[in-house]
């Protein structure tokens, strides 16, 4: 009986001593997914996107010169402010979009650490943008896994202006 105890004890001890290392297998990049279109018929010939007051070298988030009816990109949101501003230059016309949001730092795992989670609460935009529709107000590290026909926000440019 005692021999059995010792053997089984050692076996289980060895089994439980194994661990899964230090690697992070989950995403910690929190990016809002946005889709752009004019009216579904008129193409967007080029699209350049920068953060507001971010005009330095390497600050351009999007520089797309391919003409398509819709475009889809991911955007980082501010960590220190409750709104994030983007300058959108579509077909040569400049607009500004502000996304209001709340932020909470959320724990992912002990190996990956923390990542920001946002809730989109509203928008402010200039006249070249017709409307902005929210399809998913939660922006978290899983957002970038959305399917190609899904997004957080849909931005419709004003066809009369663009």
């Amino acid at each position: 009986m005692r021999y059995i105890q010792i053997v089984i004890s050692l076996f289980i001890f060895v089994l439980l001593s194994c661990n899964d290392g230090n690697r992070c297998y989950e995403s910690v990049d929190t990016l809002m997914v946005g889709s752009f279109s004019i009216n579904g018929f008129k193409p967007i010939n080029n699209l350049i996107i920068n953060g507001v007051n971010r005009n330095g070298v390497g600050d351009t988030l999007v520089n797309d010169t391919l003409s398509t009816l819709t475009k889809r990109y991911t955007f980082p949101l501010s960590l220190t402010s409750d709104s994030t501003g983007f300058v959108l230059k579509a077909n040569g016309i400049k607009d500004t979009l502000y996304v209001r949001h709340t932020l909470i730092m959320s724990f992912i795992s002990e190996n990956c650490g923390f990542a920001p989670n946002y809730i989109i609460s509203g928008f402010r935009y200039t006249a070249g943008i017709d409307s902005v529709k929210v399809t998913d107000k939660k922006v978290n590290p899983k957002s970038i896994e959305k399917l190609t026909n899904d997004q957080n926000i849909l931005i419709y440019f004003n066809s009369a202006v663009h």
Binding site: M1, R2, N19, N22, P76, S81, S106, F107, F114, A115
Partner: protein, 265 residues
């Protein structure tokens, strides 16, 4: 002649002494509350990541021979410095439950047993995270989450053994599957270590404990506990092997008796 006579007398005297010493002492079965400590808690800092310290004391009391109502109490602190955050967690926990012996005691002196058991656990703990850092296109964020008191309830299934190493001293181990029932929710950070449960990243955390125990031999009995029947009632017409009226258990059985060691011929 005198030598022969004196030798016979000596032999008779020795023989009578042996007879006196062979007078059998009464055999009792001693039982009583058993107290112990979980040694595996002291090994945890060397086996897992992060700075840990923990201790756990355990106690059980025999009830009707095969049942052991059990109480366990412990403390754990955890301090984990990682890239991008520093997590601290400490608290106390208690478990209440019962173990059931599933093997037959072979004699009044035999106290080794194998058991299955269940526990209800409760943990009260604090967690705090500081040094949280994150950087993206817009810059860097450094923040912290202040200390918060939380609690957790869980259930455990236990399998283990306890063996008497020498009189009243026991060594035992358990393998435990833990089922978290309720944990205080926190929008920032779900506790990834809970005192008494362990890591919560797995759906059903498993744990292994090794303990040493001392039994206070307060009660004594001459009755050997009966094996707990696991199979339920016998069916109509079925012969119960423990039934004294069972013809297999009587000496003049029509079924006969014997062992199969010689091939069952």
């Amino acid at each position: 002649m005198t030598k022969i006579f004196s030798s016979i007398l000596i032999l008779l005297f020795i023989n009578s002494l042996q007879g006196f010493s062979q007078k059998k002492a009464e055999v009792w079965r001693y039982e009583g509350p058993r107290f112990g400590i979980d040694l595996s808690r002291f090994l945890m800092p060397y086996m897992q990541k992060g700075k840990r310290s923990a201790w756990e004391v355990q106690a059980d009391v025999p009830y009707k021979g095969n049942w052991f109502p059990t109480f366990e109490f412990g403390m754990q602190s955890f301090n984990d410095q990682r890239d991008g955050f520093h997590y601290k967690n400490n608290g106390t926990y208690a478990r209440l439950g019962v173990d059931m012996n599933i093997v037959k005691f072979e004699s009044l002196k035999d106290h080794d047993f194998v058991f299955i058991g269940a526990r209800y656990g409760y943990s009260l703990f604090n967690q705090q995270t500081d040094g949280i850092s994150y950087t993206n296109y817009w810059g860097a964020l450094n923040s912290s989450i202040p200390s918060r008191t939380m609690n957790a309830h869980w259930a455990e299934l236990v399998f283990g053994m306890k063996g008497e190493l020498f009189s009243n001293f026991f060594l035992g181990w358990t393998l435990r599957a833990k089922f978290p029932l309720a944990v205080t929710s926190d929008p920032n950070i779900k506790p990834y270590i809970i005192p008494g449960i362990g890591k919560t990243s797995n759906g059903v955390p498993f744990d292994f404990t090794v303990g040493i125990y001392y039994r206070f031999p307060i009660f004594r009995t001459k009755t050997l506990p009966k094996v707990i029947k696991m199979g339920g009632n016998t069916h109509p017409g079925e012969v119960d092997p423990n039934d004294p009226n069972n013809p297999r258990n009587s000496g003049n059985s029509q079924y006969g008796s014997g062992s199969m060691r010689n091939g069952g011929q």
